[in-house]
Subunit: 307 residues, 2 copies
Amino acid sequence: MLDKIKLFAPATVANVSCGFDVLGFCLDTVGDEMVVHKTQEKGIRITKIEGSELPLEVEKNVAGVSALAMYNALQPDCGFEIEIYKKIKPGSGIGSSSASAAGSVFGINALLGYPLNKSELTKYAIKGEALASQCEHADNIAPTIFGGFTLVRSVAPVDILQLPTPEELYATIIHPQIEIKTSEARAILPKTVALDGAITQWSNVGSLVHALHTSDYDLLNKALKDVIVEPHRKQLIPHFDAVRTAALSAGALGCGISGSGPSIFMLSKGKSTAENVEKAIADCYQDTSIPFNTFVSKINTQGIKVI
Amino acid sequence: MLDKIKLFAPATVANVSCGFDVLGFCLDTVGDEMVVHKTQEKGIRITKIEGSELPLEVEKNVAGVSALAMYNALQPDCGFEIEIYKKIKPGSGIGSSSASAAGSVFGINALLGYPLNKSELTKYAIKGEALASQCEHADNIAPTIFGGFTLVRSVAPVDILQLPTPEELYATIIHPQIEIKTSEARAILPKTVALDGAITQWSNVGSLVHALHTSDYDLLNKALKDVIVEPHRKQLIPHFDAVRTAALSAGALGCGISGSGPSIFMLSKGKSTAENVEKAIADCYQDTSIPFNTFVSKINTQGIKVI
């Protein structure tokens, strides 16, 4: 059996337009790299973090907390050391903490011969995520572990649906480097919504799931709309409307806030369209004082990968 | 070309639990029969109605209004006579007016050699439905014309999605013979709903569409819930909770109000379970003073049929 594994723990997009709080998808271009070693010495240790100022103390690190939750449940006759090469910027809204939290449990599971399934891994990864976001949710954990598009029905018990991914679907991401406090993104949400708007939203969610099953890109274009949350949260992201207008003009099927922002995602049919969209949205930010970065990614249908 | 056609215009269920205002499905056991004749004399005439006290005047009959709307748009060089053998009780909540409104346009279309597609037929059928329900909606028209499960995205323009139907899915219907005024069923709806509840609802709609695509009966069971509308409307239907409890105990996957009631629908895997459910729910009404009838039906994936 292996005693060392190297992983790619991908970035993810949660709150996919109409699918606020339930739909997410997995990216392929950007993700953390992690190395997990099996050791004779028992316990969990984080031995190295590069790329970000994050604590090495296991109980204060999301990857450590998730690993420890799983370790304490399984009580294996060995220990694990974790190295984290952080490539996803914390606070960017593309599942930075989830990637680390999911990566450590995935690695330990692999080194133990895969005793746990993806739902069980999700349960422990959520414990790490909770350290970062103060609540147990699987919005980003689910697509990181399952890959492709996921629908989170519930976290206790873990109930995740794997939705199909149309072959030619690509994402474009722009990360405006501003800080959005999670507390602020939450406080801005309305407690109640108009019934009419809610009906529009669930019509779009049903349509989006149907579009994923049928690879209907026109329907994706119609369904990728959020009439409930985005109108409130977009004010936290400068130039959001300009980005959307530019993205749709360049051929994007849809555009929305990734997680609770500040990143914005677009979905497009085909890589070249996704690249045109990337150019168009970069132009929106070029003349502002806000630093930003962009990338294009195929939808990652596998999730975390051994590399 | 034919100059006479006989049709089965099926009953339908709208507002399928979580899919309030967007999802519907088509029944097979109960429906109106209609005969449409092509005549040299121009215009639309209703020559016979059996089974219900409905007006023969074209402008006052839903089948006449829809036929006339289509006739005036196409301006064919002939006329049509319509006979209606009403088998669906008006006001029962299983799409009585929609069956007639859809049947007449389907029949005329067939006798003209099918110049219009299903979306176009829907557009004219909605005009008839509007006479009965005072608003243009396709909640029942869509499943009558398209068959199977449908998702109505919009009526202007007509935008209907055809969803797949799991092979072994059967419906059980109970019609408690009470009157529910549409105005009352509408007035009882809340104008606003809690965001949490709305999220649960769209999670269930997404899950239901996925379950239909994957023939996942367990997931149907989880997803067939309405946390938004049913809690308000069920008070208009005596013994609703008892029916649901009995139906689920007898093996039903889900239970909800058909349209705006008073009929209640159940979905089950397999005909024998649907029949057990029928017995169980009949027991709930047996000792009440409310007359009722029940039936079991396979989901009708074809919609209106030539017979």
